[in-house]
Amino acid sequence: MDSTKTKKISFNKQLLIPIAAIIALAIFNLIVDPSFFKITLGTNSAGNPVLSGYLITILDYGSELAILAIGMTLVTAASGGQDISVGATIAIAGSVILRVLCGNNSRPDTLQAPIIVAFLVACVVAMLFGAFNGILVAYFKIQPMVATLILFTAGRSIAAWINNNELPIISEPSFGYFGGYIPGIPIPTPFFIAMICVIVIMLVLKFTTLGLYTQAVGINGSSSRLNGINPQFIKFLTFVILGLCVAVAGLIKVSRLSTINYSVIAKDIEMDAILAVALGGNALSGGKFNMTASILGAYVIQFLTTTLYKMNVNSEALSAYKAVVVIVLVVLSTPVVRKKLSQLWGKLTVKQAVKEVA
């Protein structure tokens, strides 16, 4: 009875931040332009019924971010740092998928390999790159952000190198299903993919010790080692899981365009993914985490991005606004400011109590 009660309270507290952010954004949009919430059923160029509207855009484009947020939350929790190479590794994974599908010809008429094979190869490659980061972080004890800086610098170059710097284009329509719509289903496929990932990770967290071990390592590595957990392996494992998430996000990204642009694909997505974790109320210095809050956080980020786009903010200038949001959020979540705020709150309530007494 008691344990369920405390569980419920912590659950509410963590989810409060993203939900409050969603409500704030929704109210803002409602005031500026209520047509933001309109969803219309139309048909796309292929003649399939599709839902369109800003809310659908959020669900659609927030999916990659939600998938990345899953991996990023685990990495953050275990190692107390973030992986800044996810954008670059998405480029690598996407490049691998296209390379396998196209073979040596960059404009194939038919696919050279089944999509599932290409995806599996991409998974393996992305997990290898994740493992590279993991080894540097876990076994060489390099700060995560600096270790992943290596791939951040080289990743896009490697992606271009995989395809000999060509831009393969896939004309096969079935490849576009993953980032678009499956005929007959009006909801964008990325949303379903994201939901599958969410369900899988929820089941994993519920039925395995991964979540518990990750948090234990993040809170105190040496005491978790004394309790028989191998902290280095757990850190390594979280980076490999992030690699898997990156491969899924990469599939969606290249499927959207059926091609790839090495320097633009998934640009600045590492910022959004870190932001999603922070918005979920998870400590960026590691330790306890709440997966649901992170995933909600990812959709909040997309909500914010879509809102900014709708207000005709230049896509290059977008990062300036987001940076301000990050700073405000991070400042509000620091212990110093929290203490000050709670003191302020305490003073206010005391004053009120005094008034009531008087």
């Binding site: 540097l136 600096v146 951040f152 610098t153 170059s157 190198w161 710097n165 200038a317 300036a320 301000v324």
Partner: protein
């Protein structure tokens, strides 16, 4: 700890290893690597690298990188990191370009803008890191995105600056006496450097002195090495951290102006990846990411090593854009692993 009882090679090794400070050990590695690399370039890439001007061109092209790397080394010695420098450089060059061309500004005003932007970034980031205890990486990541975004808000399209006073300043060449070479026509051509290089070298010397012989410099090392014991020694840890970020911000502003003097244009894509090159140079130069270890001279050689390897890559005919990224990343990786291995080995030797 108990070194007296040991005999043979192990003890000598321990003594030598133990006495050489981390800073000197890593500095030696860097300088040796640089000279080996440059020698290799002369041997394998032909005579181009023998000309003094080739060497001075490396300096000309990397004056801004040297200044930002010095700033980064200082932050890293103090145990922090700053990845906003590239964005600040881009923002400074764009703001100065707009000021000079669209508002008819003067050189002095442009320099003031450059340093002003640097100070603002330094103060805000320093405050957030030092006094609110936010992870420096998050703060400066946001700073980087903010600077990049602001650059496009200031002006979107890239353009060349045509302000007369500025063009004159940009084209000023300082002759280096005693160095020169004969060109294809047989005329003797003096080697030259740009003004930026002189600024960069002054910055290197100044901060070498500050780090070595001033209270601020020593407290930077102390805080980076162990903030807890620095606090017990009576060092104001927060203020030192704040100052490290402030110095880095100001240096990024100066570097922005030097970069602007080198390229003479404003563009949102300027200095992209410069923060990574600066971090890589500092690491190659023997600055430890964990803080407390580092040397400005090492950083200087780190920049030279990095740009020499880039020159080697491009003169070897591998001029596709991706090779530079991959070589830098590979060097970074190797040096990170060397650091990690060297330090852990040393720790083991000392605690045997």
């Amino acid at each position: 700890m108990n070194e007296k009882n040991k005999t043979g090679f192990g003890s000598k090794f321990t003594k030598w290893f133990g006495r050489t400070s981390d800073t000197n050990l890593l500095l030696t590695i860097t300088i040796v690597v640089f000279f080996l690399m440059y020698l290799g370039a002369i041997v394998f890439q032909g005579q181009g690298f023998l000309k003094p001007q080739t060497f001075f061109n490396i300096l000309n092209a990397n004056a801004a990188l040297i200044i930002t790397s010095v700033g980064l080394s200082i932050v890293m010695i103090c145990g922090g990191i700053d990845i906003s420098v590239g964005g600040v450089v881009a923002l400074v060059s764009m703001s100065c370009a707009v000021y000079l061309d669209f508002h008819g500004g003067s050189i002095i005003g442009a320099i003031a803008i450059a340093i002003g932007i640097g100070v603002v970034f330094g103060v805000v980031q320093g405050f957030l890191v030092a006094y609110l205890d936010i992870q420096p990486f998050i703060v400066t990541l946001a700073g980087m995105f903010f600077a990049r975004g602001m650059t496009t808000i200031v002006h979107t399209a890239p353009f060349n600056v045509e302000n007369e006073a500025f063009v004159n300043l940009k084209d000023t060449r300082v002759i280096v006496p005693g160095f020169g070479s004969y060109n294809k026509l047989g005329n003797y051509v003096n080697a030259y450097v740009e003004i930026g290089v002189i600024v960069a070298i002054l910055v290197v010397i100044l901060f070498f002195i500050i780090l070595r012989w001033t209270k601020l410099g020593r407290s930077l090392y102390a805080v980076g090495g162990n903030a807890q014991s620095a606090l017990m020694l009576g060092i104001n840890v927060r203020r030192t951290r704040f100052l490290s970020h402030l110095i880095c911000g100001i240096l990024a502003g100066i570097a922005g102006f030097v970069y602007f003097m080198h390229v003479g244009s404003g563009s949102a894509s300027h200095a992209s990846g410069m923060e990574m090159n600066a971090i890589a140079s500092s690491i190659i130069g023997g600055t430890m990411l964990t803080g407390g270890v580092g040397n400005i001279i090492g950083t200087f050689f780190g920049v030279l090593s990095l740009s020499t390897i880039q020159n080697i890559v491009s003169s070897a005919g591998l001029d596709q854009a991706w090779w530079t990224g991959i070589t830098i990343a590979a060097m970074l990786c190797i040096f990170l692993v060397i650091q990690s291995v060297v330090i852990s080995k040393k720790k083991k030797l000392l605690t045997k």
